[in-house]
Symmetry: C2
């Protein structure tokens, strides 16, 4: 296996904490593939780049010769949210769990090596436990210990209710580590408390406690907030090549370096070389293109990356699109309006026929995408960049026509 | 069935709280035997009068035509104390539970009517529950609600640890009420929180919530502290007739009235008559004798009560024993000493032979109990009242002989 020092340098990259590093070194000295656990929510998986920070780290472990235990937490998922307060957490059926697991695998094996990955379901050990077993498990921790968890203590102090079963979930997650005989568990910094519970329970069950490695939460496109679906600042791993490429090109230079550290397959040395080249005059945009191509290649293909790159260059990089464009505000009826008419109203063409001809010849783009359908209708309530030929641009705001009095 | 007003007057007698009385009246109006639940600890049963407050109330319900559900909480008993901190709470085996249940029945059927009693074991419904079932149950209450319980809140505030499973026990007890479809649950005032949990859970499961009736904790012989084995201020229901009679005769007049209210089969009217007679000059001692006879009859027989009464009279009531007796301190060797020798050393007889003759003729008593064995040895470390014939008394303190230097 790879020398311990080298392994440590790979493992340390971009992580928040290794608890404790001394234990990690002891485990690496065992010179056998370590069992690296990571738990995933069994609800409909639709991963974004935020999730891939963890997956990327897991892949690094695999590249070092270790084994990934990919845990799908279906036991509690099949219970659902028993308080019934959260309507979005309906109990999952076994069929849904299996289907979600397949979707997961399709997604995560774009990063992970299937040959070094074991997919596990915690229902396979929790499903056979009795109420008495759970009481014994519950006896292994205390109320005070649970109230040390940040979110519990805040809710308790603010008088927000905490249902008793919420105190059981960290114990279940900890027990998973026992059942899986995990050597290492990875998770986000927000999971630290639960990951440490695994250490406590393994110790109780006479196992060597797992090393806990926490990973930072990835910032979204805005560079400020945690990447999340609900904030809309995410890059989905199912995004189209063009979309993914464009989103990566939109991030700040600073965030680009962070994405390199947390997501790229480039080594730290290679990244350092890129940084040096940037200080010596390389346009950061070109370094960003390299990241965008790597990511599109990872989740689609190198060909898709090439196309997306060309597409991006065609649209934004040939120096054709002016930074400042004419802003046009138009009112159109509820049902929308044919594109050619809008082009004429905005003054981008002289006549509707010229507009139709331009569409027909492939000379018309909306937000850089070519429109060749002469019957294409545009809708009110939109704002896009329209282009005719190589030089004519306008941002057209289409408002809904107000009733004439 | 008995008129509701009359039933209420019986039910109200001596109880601490009826929660809520309006619900009780509604239930009584159903005009059917109500299901009256009471839970008992499955550990080795050895009941004292403190426990019989509850049993006496249950018997009153039976006399009114209701059904007693006598619950043995064996499910948690068979788990034991899972923290392992309490060495005295080893898990009970099924055999031990069954044996304890038999011992219970032998004891409680001295008060309860077996024909109107159903003995239940909560393992019969909890034993088949899964961990997932328990999680759902745990979701029905909150951490804040549990911390309202006096002992939990005190322990939490004082930094004493509360294991998570302790929060599950009130829920289990509450769920028992659901499984048993209890109309009423009785318990000590210290059980109020857990009894109310039964109401909450029944409501959740669509049942009419049980009426909670709490009973005071009986004071022990000292009239101050709660009766308990560990304080030594108890009357065991397995105490010998003589012992039981003597202990009852030792309580204060005030405590006697409390015992009458909580333990006697006399109606409140009959007790009121006794009170009046006491104010009109009846010696309270005679009223106490009546209570002592009732209790010995209950737990042994009327014949045993008669004998214990006579015995008591012989010992303490024929005016023979002086209030102030000579105090004698003697030192005797480790192995003890023949009774006759002690009598001589204390000056109660002139010679050892006279002592032996007195024993032989039945003229020697220790604490009122006749000793007729001439070989009887007394032991160091004791203090008893010795009597020879009708007039000679002494309290003899026997210390262990110290080594002569």
């Amino acid at each position: 296996m790879v020398a311990i020092d080298q392994q440590l340098s790979v493992i340390r990259r971009g992580v928040s904490e290794i608890i404790p590093e001394a234990d990690l070194i002891e485990k690496l000295k065992l010179n056998r593939p370590l069992r690296v656990k990571a738990g995933f929510d069994p609800t409909a998986p639709d991963l974004h780049f935020g999730h891939t920070v963890l997956l990327t780290k897991l892949k690094q472990f695999q590249d070092l010769g270790h084994e990934v235990l990919f845990l799908i937490g279906d036991f509690t998922g099949m219970i659902g949210d028993p308080t019934g307060k959260n309507v979005t957490r309906k109990p999952l059926t076994r069929e849904a769990v299996i289907q979600n697991a397949e979707t997961y695998q399709k997604q995560v094996f774009k990063i992970l090596d299937p040959a070094r990955t074991t997919v596990m379901f915690n229902s396979s050990w929790m499903g056979t436990k009795t109420a008495a077993d759970l009481i014994r498990l519950a006896s292994l921790s205390t109320v005070a210990r649970m109230l040390e968890r940040d979110d519990f203590s805040q809710r308790y102090q603010q008088g927000q209710s905490i249902a008793i079963h919420e105190f059981l979930y960290p114990l279940l997650q900890g027990y998973d580590s026992v059942a899986m005989e995990a050597d290492i568990e990875l998770g986000g910094t927000d999971q630290k408390f639960n990951l440490l519970m695994g250490r406590e329970l393994q110790r109780h069950y006479g196992q060597s406690p797992q090393v806990v490695i926490t990973l930072p939460l990835l910032e979204g496109l805005d560079g400020v907030h945690k990447m999340s679906k609900s904030l809309g600042n995410y890059i989905g791993i199912a995004d189209s090549p063009t979309e993914m490429f464009g989103k990566i090109m939109s991030i700040s230079d600073e965030l680009m370096w962070r994405y390199y550290e947390l997501l790229s397959d480039l080594s730290l040395v290679e990244i350092a070389i890129l940084r040096t080249s940037a200080t010596q005059g390389t346009n950061p945009r070109d370094i960003k293109i390299q990241l965008a191509r790597e990511m599109v290649t990872r989740f689609h293909s190198s060909q898709a990356a090439e196309t997306a790159h060309q597409d991006f260059v065609n649209r934004f990089q040939q120096g054709l699109m002016p930074e400042v464009r004419e802003q046009v505000v138009l009112e159109i009826p509820t049902g929308g309006m044919p594109l050619a008419n809008v082009l004429k109203m905005a003054g981008l063409v002289e006549t509707t026929s010229e507009g139709l001809r331009a569409i027909d010849q492939g000379g018309v783009r909306i937000n850089g995408e070519k429109i060749t359908d002469k019957n294409f209708r545009v809708q009110p309530g939109t704002k896009h960049t329209y282009q005719v030929g190589k030089r004519r641009f306008a941002d057209i705001h289409l408002h809904l026509q107000t009733l004439k009095s």
